[in-house]
């Protein structure tokens, strides 16, 4: 990466949730940097801490039960922890915006999409009704919604799922944020619509130079859209690297397992035979974040006693590559 100053820096973030059954460590010592014009993917399964990390970036963790126990979040050099609520509200939407998985439940069914997009514009930029309406139509056109001047007065139920996600993106873009956090933006969409939305996000990155933090469980989506990837497991960062290099040659057993357990359209299947998928045995332990050793040890073929008692540090394993595995040098080289 260049020496440019990163737009968003998260350093040693730790988030805990306090419940009746004690304290759960949802995110444990996660750091990341995001540069302008870059798409960084946070990948992991349920409970990996990917969504909590992104919510923490906007300081949206509900407290209680959640709490950011340590770590700093710098947006353009400004520590978000030092801001009061009013200043934070100016950041949210204006500098950093977020889109969620399910556009239907994030849109208000009784307001037109124009009213909903206009709310943020009025709040952050002000302006008369005419100017706001013109700006709304502009952002609807930016996300390639046809007949924007007609759609602006429609309600969410009159739009298809793909169109609703475009509206969410339009809302996020309405005040020209420099960082867009996209939390599973295409998970609820069909593949052909997913392809359209991802193409739109890449296009917006090109045209606006926006930085995108893409949160997903789908390594296929990551492979085609991200520049760099961070793999999370049980609230900890287990691997990081440029996307092609990481997918070609994963240096953490969990990443390898994830890649192996994904059925591929381009994998070799011979004749009538059906191949078994590679399984990662077991499930994510609920206390992975508070284990003394490696969180993945219980499911890992290579794990030994040392792995279970000593937490592996993130180690340099190649150009821009990090892996938190004691045995990263024992993993066989790149898979075919």
């Amino acid at each position: 990466m260049s020496e440019r100053q990163p737009l968003l820096v998260i350093d040693s973030l730790a988030v805990e949730f306090h419940g009746r059954d004690g304290t759960t460590c949802a995110v444990d010592d996660v750091s990341l940097t995001l540069h302008a014009g870059e798409i960084l993917a946070l990948v992991g399964e349920s409970g990996s801490g990917k969504s909590v990390t992104s919510l923490a970036a906007l300081r949206l963790i509900p407290d209680p039960p959640g709490k950011i126990v340590s770590g700093t979040i710098l947006l353009d050099g400004v520590d978000l922890a030092s801001l009061d609520d009013r200043a934070l509200r100016r950041v949210r939407g204006k500098d950093m915006a977020m889109i969620f998985q399910d556009p239907m439940s994030s849109l208000n069914p009784v307001l037109t999409i124009g009213q909903q997009i206009g709310e943020a514009i009025r709040l952050h930029e002000g302006g008369g009704d005419e100017a706001v309406r013109a700006r709304i139509i502009e952002v609807l056109e930016l996300v390639r919604i046809p007949q924007a001047d007609m759609r602006i007065d429609q309600y969410p139920h009159q739009l298809s799922g793909g169109m609703r996600q475009r509206v969410m993106i339009a809302m996020a873009l309405s005040c020209g944020p420099r960082v867009l956090i996209a939390d599973e933006p295409t998970t609820a969409l069909d593949v052909t619509i997913q392809a359209q939305i991802l193409a739109l996000l890449r296009d917006l990155r090109e045209r606006l130079g926006m930085a995108i933090l893409l949160i997903t469980h789908d390594l296929g989506v990551v492979a085609e859209n991200a520049d760099r990837v961070i793999v999370l497991y049980g609230g900890r960062k287990v691997e990081q690297g440029p996307v092609d290099s990481l997918i070609r040659n994963p240096r953490h057993p969990y990443t390898r397992g994830l890649l192996g357990s994904m059925p591929h359209l381009d994998s070799a299947l011979s004749g009538d035979k059906r191949a078994r998928l590679v399984e990662i045995p077991g499930a994510v332990p609920s206390n992975a974040g508070s284990l003394p050793g490696c969180g993945f040890a219980a499911r890992c073929e290579l794990a030994d006693a040392h792995c279970r008692t000593h937490r592996p540090p993130l180690t340099d394993v190649g150009p821009d590559r990090l892996s938190a595995c004691w045995k990263h040098d024992q993993l066989p080289e790149a898979q075919p």
Binding site: E45, S46, S160, G161, G162, M163, D190, V191, T192, I193, Q194, A195, Q196, A199, H217, D218, L219, G220, V221, A223, E224, N225, D244, I247, R248, G257, L258, L259, G260, S261, M262, P263, H264, L265, D266, L269, G271, D272, R274, A275, R276, L277, V278, E279, I280, P281, A283, V284
Partner: protein
């Protein structure tokens, strides 16, 4: 080879609800034709993958076969007998042969009953097992699907998504069915758990000689588990054939578009194929396009496509596409 399941010309319409004013005025109710003339067959011990996007009618096909919906036209033959019009008392023995696993295992388990009871219920309905023998069989089923015997007295909320799906599978295989309709059985699961459940389904199929109708939107999973594949668009099957033929040489532009929309992991293979990105959304099934229903989104559509229903073309044995200009 005679097919275990043979569906021909299946049609299912759903009426739109009318407002009170429209009803008073006597305005006729509109209808959505969710399934418009679907034919398919599944041989014993075979998996047919049924793919398509949301709203294409794939789940409705499954629900009609299960007779959870009453089809409006067409025949559904199971082991040679037409079951499409059977009434309730005669449906009962059929329900043993036909089982189902749904997408959301949590929604299909009663939260106030133990999972052991959930698995025991079909056994009590369809077998003579009672008491200790019944409990024993439930425990055996639990172990067969990778759960522990001592978990049968727990409640659904104590299980993870993958475990709940295993419970759903145990319940389905209990009465020794011939055919299981699997409606998006792994779409709600994490990737690493998905692989476990797909492998389990393939093992059980071999062990019990089951037939599967595997309904899903995920092409990669369908490719993995199916011997044959049918692709649905707006209530119709547009292409069907052996797995490798459909995935390696799709003849219908919609199949090709679906395949090219799926993300590819390997950067080396990514630019090899030209990507077709479909424009627009799925048209409304209550007012489907004329001629070929796909013509409004098809990159290769000609004038004839909007006026004439395309013929079906069999390019190799069993590989059939409904298109004027097959690829």
């Amino acid at each position: 080879m005679t097919a275990l399941l043979e569906v021909a010309g299946l049609v299912k319409r759903f009426a739109h609800s009318r407002s009170l004013i429209d009803r008073v005025r006597g305005k006729p109710a509109g209808a959505v034709q969710a399934v418009s003339g679907v034919s398919l067959s599944i041989a014993a011990n075979e998996t047919l993958g049924l793919v398509g996007e949301s709203g294409c009618g794939k789940s409705t096909v499954g629900r009609c076969i299960l007779r959870l919906e009453q089809p409006d036209a067409g025949t559904i033959r199971l082991g040679g007998e037409d079951i499409s019009q059977l009434a309730e008392p005669r449906l009962r023995p059929l329900r043993r042969k036909l089982q189902v696993v749904f997408q959301d295992p949590f929604a299909s388990l009663n939260p106030r009953r133990t999972v052991g009871e959930a698995v025991a219920e079909p056994l009590r309905n369809f077998t003579d097992l009672r008491g200790a023998a019944l409990r024993d069989e439930v425990a055996r089923l639990f172990e067969r699907v990778g759960l522990r015997r001592d978990q049968i007295d727990r409640f659904p909320h104590e299980f993870s998504g993958g475990q709940r799906q295993r419970i759903g599978i145990a319940r389905a295989i209990g009465p020794r069915p011939d055919l299981i309709i699997l409606d998006e059985p792994v779409s709600a699961l994490d990737v690493s758990i998905q692989a476990q459940v797909v492998n389990l389904l393939m093992d059980l199929q071999d062990e019990f000689r089951l037939s599967y109708l595997f309904i899903a939107h995920d092409l990669a999973v369908v490719r993995h588990i199916s011997q044959r594949v049918a692709v649905m668009y707006l209530g119709q099957i547009v292409e069907t054939g052996p797995r490798d033929a459909v995935f390696s040489h799709p003849r219908h532009p919609y199949t090709a578009a679906l395949l090219s929309a799926a993300p590819i992991l390997d950067p080396a293979k990514r630019n090899a194929a030209e990507r077709i990105i479909l424009t627009g959304d799925l048209p409304s099934p209550s007012n489907p396009p004329s001629g070929c229903r796909f013509h409004t989104r098809c990159p290769y559509a000609q004038a004839i496509c909007s006026t004439t229903v395309p013929p079906t073309v069999e390019s190799s044995p069993g590989h059939i596409a409904a298109c004027h200009f097959p690829l």
